[in-house]
Structure formats: C-alpha cells, structure tokens
Amino acid sequence: MSDARNGNLEFQRTYAAKGEPFVWLTAMGLAVGLIMVVALLGIIISNGLPVFWPSRVLEFQLKSDISNSVPQGGDKIVGELVQKRMKRIPVLNAQGIKKADQTELQVFVGNKDTYGLNFAFANQDDIASVTEPKDIYRIERLEYGIAFGYPKSVKLANGQSVPSTNATFSTVLAQLCAESTARRHEIENIEKHEIGQINKQLNELRISQKSDSQSAEKLSALDAQYKTLASKASELRATQSASSLQYITPTGVDRSLAIGELVSYTQPNRLSTWERIVLFARNFLNFLWENPREANTEGGIFPAIFGTFAMTLLMSVAVVPFGVIAAIYLREYAKQGFFLQCVRIAVNNLAGVPSIVFGVFGLGFFVYFVGGSIDQLFFGKYLPTPTFGTGGVFWAALTLALMTVPVVIVSTEEAMAAVPRGIREGSLSCGASKWQTIQRIVLPASLPGILTGLILAMARGAGEVAPLMLVGVVKLAPSLPLDGDFPFAHLERKFMHLGFHIYDLGFQSPDSEAAKPMVFATALLLILLVITLNLAAILTREKLRKKYAGSAF
C-alpha cells in the first residue's frame, strides 16, 4: 500500500510527520512478543538438549580453609558442572556501596548413597584449580542414581576377582553388564507379565466365589505355577547380586555395587567427540524408549509418550465424526435464523470455556455418572472396586474430545464454506441429491480443512493437562492402555501423560533439583510435539487457501 520507493515526497510524509516515536513504540511491542517466544523456546532447548550430552567430570580443587559440603570431601569436589550462577550479596558496607556479586558453581556430585546429597555448591573465588580426572567412571545404578568413582576390581560369582589393572577388566565388566541387563528384563517379564497373568486369574476365581472342586483344582494349579515362577525369579535375583563391582568414590570411600544394580557405565573424560555424539543419540533414544525409574527422576518416559499418543488417538477417533456431523448440520441443514445464531454463539463460546471446566464435567458426568452406571450394570462383581467408575484413558479422551469439538466444527465449517458454490450447483444440476453432493463433492473438497481442525485439536489435546488431572492421568501407571493381554485395548486403565509428567516431576517430586533435567527434557519433547502438529496444521491451511484462491467461479 505504501510503497517506499516512490521518492522523496513519500519519505517526507512518512518520517517528518507527527507520531513517529509512537510507531517505534508499537514496533517494540512486536519485537518484545517475538523475542519472548524465541527466548522461551531457547530456554527449553538449551536446558533440554544438554541433558543427553555426556558432560565431562571435573575435579575442583578448593582453596585451603574452605568448607566443603561433600562429607569427607577434603578439599576436592568431583562431579559434573551443572551451572554457574550469580549470587547477589545484598549487604552494603558503611559507605553504602554494595559488595561485588559472587559466582556460584553448582556441581552434580552423585554418589547419593555415600554423600547424602546430589549437588555441591562452591564459590568461584574459592576454587584453586580445575582438572579432569581421566580414569573416573560414571556409573548409572538402579537405585541412588549416578555414582562417580574409580573401579578397583570385579568380584565374580565364583569368588574370583579381576582387578581394574588387569587387561581383561573392561571386557569382563562389559559382559557382566550386558548379562545383568538381560536378566533384569527376564525378571521383569516374569514378575510383571507372567505372575501378573496368574494374579489376574486368581483374582477372577476369588471374585466368582465358586467353591466347587474344579475351581479348587484350578486354584492349586495356579498356585503351583506361581511358586515355580517366583522361585525362578528369586533365583535370577540371586545371580544378579552374586557378582559385584568394587569401586572407590572420589572421597576415598570403598563401595561395592551388585552387578544387578548396574545399568550402564562410561568413562566420560576418555570419550572422543564422535563417541559423545553416539552416546548423546543413545541417551536420547533410551529416554524415549525406557520405563521411568526412581520415582520418575531417572530412566525414560516411554509410558508417558505412549499414554499421550493413545489418549490423543482415542480423542481423534471421537472428535472427528462428532465435529464433522455437527458442522454439516450447521452449514447445510439447519435453517438460518435466530436459533442457528444462538447455536453458533454457543459453539464459539464453548471454544473459550476453560479446560478445567471440561475436566469437572468429565469427572462428574463420564466418570461418576456414566462410568458408575456401567460398573453397576456390567462389573457389579468387582464392586466396590470401580472399573469404569474411576478415571481412565477412555474418559480422558472423551473429555478432551468434548473440549476440542468446537475447533473441528469451526474449521470444518470454514472449509465447507470455502467450497465454491459453482461446484455444488454443478453437482446438484447433474441430478445428485443433497447428501450425495455433500458426500462426494463437499466433504472431499473440505478434507484439508477437517484435517487442519483435527491437527489443531490433537495439538491442544496433547498439550492439555488440567482436565486430565481430574479424569484419569496418574504419575506412574502400572501398565499401558494397550498391551498383549486380552482384550488388548484397556480403555478403563489410567495412563501417563507428558504434560502431567512435567507437572508431577517438577512439583511433586521429592528431589525436584535432581528431577530438573528430566523435566526440561520432557518439556522439550512436548513442545516439539505440539509445535510440529501446529506447523502441520498451518501448512495444511495455507495449501487449502492457495487451492481455492484461484477457483472462483
């Protein structure tokens, strides 16, 4: 509209005129808004990605007479540098001049079982020198998190001991670690799946309360099965603790770690850059694929990813038909007038209703009313233990579907409105009925619009937490909503969710400082997921616009 290349006159008009400072003020508004988004994404990425990067282990030599928070740490702090932060000294001296700020280092020292703490703090000024101990190991354990230390030997099950100076040490340790991982999976399989199956059958028998000989037989058979499995598991467990790794902590404490407790180990200061990149990728994949450990602060987040996925999928299945039918009705069938106007306002309004209100409705209606009725009708024998009468993935999906239905209605309607009148009339004049026109012409043409709505709905559903807290999300679900047990899809099960994982880890975790890396990593993943979905929706919409931009009849 205002083309700047029109010469001096234009320039004089724009710049010399009044109000130019205010234009700059509005420019600031936009700049601040954009910087906010970029900075936020930057914070999450810069805190989320380094979680997987194998950082170096440093040895901080403290100056003399500086107290060390690590017990028996002497004048050394060994660990990974987490952050440097400015510590303000608010005290003023007599002249009213502030003392200089101090830089404080936060060091992850691990060895929580020995030290009783995970982090040590030291002022930059108190540090004499920093070195990298070459031979230090970073040992990831099943319990108590990470240990830093120097291995002394491996004690084998047959009583033999392989000292770390021995050339075969690293191969022996690697082999033991691999074996223990395999055994751990086996134990998990036995305890979770096979014994779980038996328990389920036992429970069924108990609830049916039949006391005939047949069920008694069954009971004893199951009991025998259980006993064999349990003894097998305990045998495996014994093997897990038969051999052990002897190591010494940087503070000089001798420790012994059963091989079964060893998850993985690295020598972080001996890694080449390429090895670091490989380890980074492996850490990331483990994060995606593993189950959480240690009150969710270690391990991966697979169940949360799966739960989010399953819930969003179920929600999509529910939201599309309802949204599309409602949109077709509103656009094609409903008579224009006051009533339709009201319905439109209501639908638009619904998009603005806070998500927590949907959660409240979901809890009251789906969980307690519908779920409670289903329990009474079909699962009476389990009562008072609720089956559907408590939060679950199905109710969560329905609640979110209700919440996102306006999104789908609005974008479907928009897409249908964009279908040129000529195409519609062409179809009708060829003798197609109204429904045939809608089904064969209008709906296919508005498919990208429906898709946009669906993607937007999925993005909103995947990122929403507040209503889920009321209708079935849990911090740790014992089993996935989809698994190998009949009937495979367990709609009544509670589930884990990425967003709730962030809330729970960041706020309910006993050691929130230690959980921070996990939360940032989860937040990064969730944001990536939501942004990808949104970008997909934006691109689809752009395509749709271009497609119909030129097709005016």
Partner: protein, 734 residues
C-alpha cells in the same frame, strides 16, 4: 435417511455440548437445599421420669437414664423397649446426668453428692443383612465430689486424655456451690495407667452470682458457669489453679432475660445460648485483634424460637444444633447462621438427641412418647451466605471471607467462601492483562498498519506457535526458571518496564529528526528488525543497572545492628508491610502473557487488518501521517474488534489453570499485593477436586466454582461475539 441421521446427529452433538451447563447446575443444586426432616415412627415409653436422653452413632438404639440407675433403651427396628441395669456396685439415686460428646460417655450425679462415669458400650453387628445395635453399659467407680451428702444439681466433665476435670453444682443452703475435681492419668508403657485424684477445688468464690448450670469442654481445661441472673463466667484451669477470665451476659440487651439452655457446639470452641424468651445466640472463643488471651464474644445471632426453649442440643458431626420448646423444633447451623429446618409438632417436646452420623433425630414429648425422625441434610454447612458473604468463623476475631476446605481434626469448620477464589481469579487476570495487553495491542497495531507485508507470513505463525505452547510448560518454566530470577532482579524488571518503552520512543524521536539519507537506510515496516538488537542491548544494560538501583533506592537498615541491606524483597516488606513471595503475581502475569498475548494479538490484528482500504488511503491523501491514520482512523473504526480481542483474552486468563497452579503459592488471600500469590477458581478445582469425596459438600462447591468460571467466560465470550458482530455490521455499511 442420511438427512435424518445428520440432522439428529447434529442436534445431538449440539445438545450434548449445551448439556454441560445443565449437568453442572444439576450437580450444585443440592448445596442450596434446606434439610429434609421426616418422621419415621413413634414408640411409647413407660411413665417414668428421665434425667438424660442419648442416642448411638447410628440412631438405632436411644437410651434414657432413670433415677434408680437403670437405662431404658428402645430398639428402633422393632420398637421394643427394654431396661438395662447399670452396675454401680451399689444402689444409687441419680438426680442429674450429662453427656460427654467427645468421649461418648455419660456422667451421673447422685443425691448424696457423688458422681460416676458410665460408658454406654454400644456394639453394632450385622445380622440377616441388617444392623443390630446392642448396649452394654459399664460404670466406673462412684466418687464423692463437693459437699458430702448434698444432691448434685448439675454435673459435667471433660477428658483431655492425660487429665480429667469433673465439675459439680450443689445447693449449699441458700447458695450454690460449684466444685471441680481434677484427676490425672499417668501414662505408662503398658498403656493407660491408673487415675489419681489431684484435688477438689471450690469455685464458688470465683463466680459472681447463683450458679444454675455448668459446662466443661472436652479438653477439660476450663469451666463455664451459667448463673441465674443470666451471666456466664469463663474459668480457665492453668497449673492446677482456676482463674476467672471473663464474665459476660449473652442477653444483656434483653431486659430480665435468663439463660434457659446452653450447650457447646461440636468442637467445644463455641457455646450456644437460648434465653427464656427463645432468643438464641452463639458465643465463640477467640483472640481479639492484638489480644494475647482468648475471650468469648458474640459471633452469631439467630431469630427467636418464639417460645420458651426446653432443650438445646448439638450434633457430633457438624456445627448444627437443635433448639426445641413448646411444640417448636428448629434445626440451626451455627457457622452460616441459617435455619436448616423448622417444624411445629402436634405435641410438646421435652428432650431430643441427634445420632452421631447426623442422620437421625429422636424427640421425647411430654407424654413420654419417643419420636424418631430422619434427617437428610448432606450439605448443612453450605448456603448462599457461606459461599459469598463474610462469615464469622470460630476462633476468628471478625467475620471474613475464607477458603479452607479441609483441616486436621474432625471438628474442623470447613470454610467454603468462593470470594477469595473469585478475587484471586481477577487478581491473576488483572496482572496478566497489565503485562499482556500493551504488548499484544502494540504488536497488533504495528503488524497490521506499519509492518512490511512480507513479514506477515513469519509473524503470524510465530504468534500461533506462541498460542499453542502447553500451559503446563509455561507454568513449569515460570515456577522453576523465571520465579527465582524475578525474585532476585525486581529492580532490573522495574527498569525494564519503564526503560524499554522510553528507549523505543526516544529512538523513534531522534530517528525522525535524522537527515533523510540516513533514514532511507531503513524501509518503513522494518523498524522492528532494528529494534531486536536494540532491545537486547538495552535490556542487558537495564538488567545490569538493576543492582545499582537496588543499592540506591531499596535499602533497609537493620535497626538492631545498623547493617544496611540492599534487597528489594526486604525493602518491600519493611516499607509496605506486605509480604514478598517468590511465586507471586509478577511471575503469573508474565507467564500468562505467553498464553494471552497471541490470542489478543491475533484477533486484534484481524480486526485492524480488515479495515476497508479506502479509509486509510483517504486519510493519507488528506495528509495525515501513518501514525495519525492509525490512531484517528483505524483504531476507532476497529475498536469493537479490539474490545472483542480483550474480552477473549480475559476469558482465557480467567480460566487458565496450570500456570497458576504451578507459578503461585495457591494461597487463598484477598489482597492486591503484586508480590504475593493468589488462588484462582481454576487452580482451586485442579488442586482439590481429585481428592474431594464424590457428592460431598466440597465436591459440589468445586462444581459451583466451575460453574462460576463457566459463567464468567460465557459472559466475556458472548460480549466479544456481540462486539465482533457489530464490527462486521459497521464494515458492511462502509
């Protein structure tokens, strides 16, 4: 066929969607229902006189204590009346009796100046699918108290677990003597040890008047004595010594009023009094403002019963009490000052008892008939007044709005005022809008009017991404990352808030005065690109200057040591007297900005961009500058659209949940202090509903909170819709 399917499907979806409102309304309805009391059955009793009426937890087997030391019990199911002897070890003549509600015990006073404590010994068992309650009373040792051989007119006791206080009232010639006996119970490793008498005290001299009634709270640490001339004395037991703390007359403004009945309300912090004319008041023990000792003060005034009361009993479940006299029965609730139920009986009521579960009522009439009633009052503690008015809660020095749904003990008084939550909602919204509104509107104005159109395809999707950021991530960042920074760097943020707009305006001012060959370097519509580095640099400078400002302006001096400290938080607390929390409104406002800015921006930008082009060109052609055009022509024309954007933004801010849950302390306070947190309706639901028992008062109150939220957003959104409609109409005419 298909048409029918679509039509019915469409109507179904839409009704389902609208049904949310009605479902929630249906859920909260019982909150406002009065109590339902209906008569179940009547049992005739033998024509004896009784000194006490009590009932078990289930209301299935009421008992009456007879003067000869027997217990008359009635089985509700069968209507059978039976007599159970109490084994005192000797024949006794009982002249007075009282219930200790907390312990579920009876204390009886004899005609010869002794007392005994009796445990009713209720047992409940299931038999043939129905509950059978049996009673096996057992008495402790009969112990003398006060004047030997003188009948005990009234008696009461309290038991704190380690000690027991028994207070008896006796006639002493023309005078009345009040005696208190203290027993200590030594606890040994093997469980409860033996009781030892510490001493008997004569309290008569402490009481100003002729005593007519004594009350002892369950804690056994004080005595309340009612005198015949309508005065009440509050005596405190401290270090085995009684002290008169306070004497007050509950009905001093009513001439000649006597106290006809008095009882502790459940929790033993409030006493309910009824005068002989039927006036009814509740006095509570609280620390007056600035006081160091607790006194009784009038907290609730109820309408008169209209006749002389014959009894006043409280429940064991909540703060309700029943006042009866003549043929009137009135069930009242102390906290909310409401009358739950009133009834006029066809007989004269003499005594009554309410079951421990607050679901059954037994009333004894003057013809010795026992009437059983069913009480259906699941939400006794709820009413419009409780939800929205100031309430004088027990222990508080004044009426106030308060939300505190759960407490540590059974006798906790739930506080269900929605006002602090609604206040918190608006407080959060206000601070969020304070931050978001200028940025969003300035950005929208710039984007629609001045920005080079080539950038629109970057700016709009970026803002949409901002809108899609999950609020749980924003809340987490706010609480874990932003809050600690803001807490330390408040002066820097003050500088930023004031300095950045100044920098922008000053830059613009000098820029427009530069010779044209320099100005040519930047095209109109590219200013923001210049601005990004400028903004970053000036932000960094302001940030560094923050600590300088703090050292100059925000210094507190410790009066004790003279040590000066430059700390904004300490300064704020010292100067304004308000608290300074880490998770405060600034953090919430800032993080909510991420959620609201893109919404307001998008809608305002749409409204501003859709202004008919001829208006702008006409304005420009008349010689107006681009700023003049934007402010004088575009803004007024698009104002309904901008208001609509603000409304939608408000709606989003009001309902935002996760940010508030995580980035505030969730304390339900009512103060505008920017450096304290708040609890919003939505956060309250998210925090409390997962733990609320199904269909409890809390559950329904939280539903009411959801309904209030729903209504708020509905109003905002409808208003916005109407405004947008008006805008479309306006454009149509141009």
């Amino acid at each position: 066929m298909m048409t029918l399917f679509i039509k019915s499907g469409g109507v179904l979806v839409i009704t389902a969607v609208l049904g949310i409102f009605f479902f929630i309304l249906f859920q909260i309805w019982p909150l406002f229902m009065p109590a339902q009391v209906s008569e179940l059955k009547t049992v005739s009793l033998p024509n004896h006189s009784f000194s006490l009426l009590g009932v078990d937890e289930w209301g299935a087997r009421p008992f009456l204590v007879e003067p000869d030391g027997r217990m008359l019990t009635v089985d509700y199911e069968t209507g059978a009346v039976s007599e159970v002897p109490i084994d005192f070890g000797e024949p006794l003549q009982i002249v007075s009796a009282a219930l200790n509600k907390r312990e579920q015990m009876i204390i009886v006073g004899t005609a010869d100046g002794r007392f005994a404590i009796v445990a009713p010994g209720y047992e409940s068992e299931e038999s043939d699918g129905r509950q059978v309650v049996t009673i096996h009373p057992s008495a402790e040792k009969v112990t003398p108290i006060g004047l030997p051989g003188v009948p005990i007119l009234d008696i009461a006791y309290g038991d704190s677990g380690s000690s027991k206080l028994v207070v008896a009232l006796q006639a002493n010639g023309n005078n009345r003597q009040v005696s208190a006996a203290i027993f200590e119970r030594k606890r040994s490793l093997m469980g409860q040890g033996k009781e030892e008498a510490v001493g008997v005290f004569d309290l008569t001299s402490l009481i100003p008047g002729r005593a007519s009634k004594v009350l002892v709270p369950g804690t056994g640490d004080s005595v309340i004595v009612v005198t015949e001339d309508g005065k009440v004395s509050y005596l405190l037991l401290e270090d085995e010594e009684f002290k008169l703390i306070q004497t007050f007359a509950p009905f001093e403004d009513i001439p000649g009023a006597h106290i006809q009945a008095a009882t502790f309300i459940f929790g033993d912090v409030s006493i309910c009094f009824a005068s002989d004319s039927g006036a009814n008041r509740v006095f509570s023990l609280y620390y007056p403002k600035g006081g160091a000792e607790r006194f009784f003060g009038k907290t609730h005034d109820f309408p008169s019963l209209g006749t002389m009361p014959s009894f006043l009993i409280s429940t064991l479940r909540n703060k309700a009490f029943l006042l009866g006299g003549g043929s009137e029965l009135s069930l009242r609730y102390s906290t909310t000052e409401s009358i739950r139920w009133e009834g006029k009986m066809p007989y004269n009521v003499v005594n009554a008892a309410i079951s421990g579960k607050y679901h059954r009522l037994v009333v004894l009439d003057s013809t010795n008939k026992l009437h059983f009633f069913k009480i259906d009052d699941p939400h006794a503690d709820s009413s419009l007044k409780a939800l929205f008015s100031k309430i004088w809660y027990e222990g508080a020095p004044e009426p106030k709005w308060e939300w505190q749904s759960t407490g540590g003990s059974d006798d906790f008084e739930p506080k269900f005022s929605l006002v602090p939550l609604i206040f918190g909602t608006f407080k959060g919204t206000f601070y969020a809008m304070l931050f978001a509104l200028p940025i969003a509107l300035l950005a929208a104005l710039y984007t629609s009017q001045f920005l080079d159109p080539r950038f629109r395809s970057i700016v709009k999707p970026t803002m949409e991404i901002m809108a899609s950021l999950p609020s749980v991530v924003l809340g987490f960042l706010g609480a874990i990352y932003i809050a600690p920074i803001i807490e330390k760097e408040i002066p820097s943020f003050i500088l930023l808030a004031v300095g950045l707009p100044l920098v922008a305006a000053i830059t613009g001012f000098f820029w427009s005065r530069l010779p044209i060959r320099y100005r040519k370097l930047i095209h109109p519509g590219w200013e923001w690109i210049v601005f990004v580095p400028l903004l970053l640099v000036s932000s960094w400078i302001f940030f560094q200057l923050g600590s300088v400002l703090e050292a100059i302006a925000f210094v507190v001096t410790d009066p004790a040591t003279g040590q000066k400290t430059a700390d904004f938080g300490a300064w704020w607390t010292a100067t304004t007297g308000n608290s300074f929390d880490q998770r405060n409104s600034v953090v919430v406002g800032f993080m909510m900005g991420f959620a609201i800015i893109p919404i307001i921006f998008t809608i305002a930008d749409d409204a501003l961009s859709n202004i008919p082009a001829q208006l702008i060109t006409a304005s420009m052609a008349c010689g107006a500058s681009r700023w003049q055009t934007a402010v004088r022509v575009v803004l007024p024309t698009a104002s309904p659209g901008i208001f609509s954007a603000i409304m939608i933004g408000l709606g989003r801010a009001v309902g935002e949940t996760m940010i508030v849950v995580m980035a505030t302390g969730n304390t339900p306070i009512t103060e505008w202090n920017i450096f304290s947190g708040m609890r919003t309706l939505s956060a309250n639901i998210a925090v409390e509903l997962p733990e609320a028992p199904h269909h409890s008062t809390l559950y329904r109150t939280l539903f009411l909170g959801a309904l209030v939220l729903f209504v708020f957003t509905f109003v905002f959104n409808t208003f916005a819709e109407i405004l947008r409609h008006r805008l479309r109409e306006r454009f149509k005419t141009i």
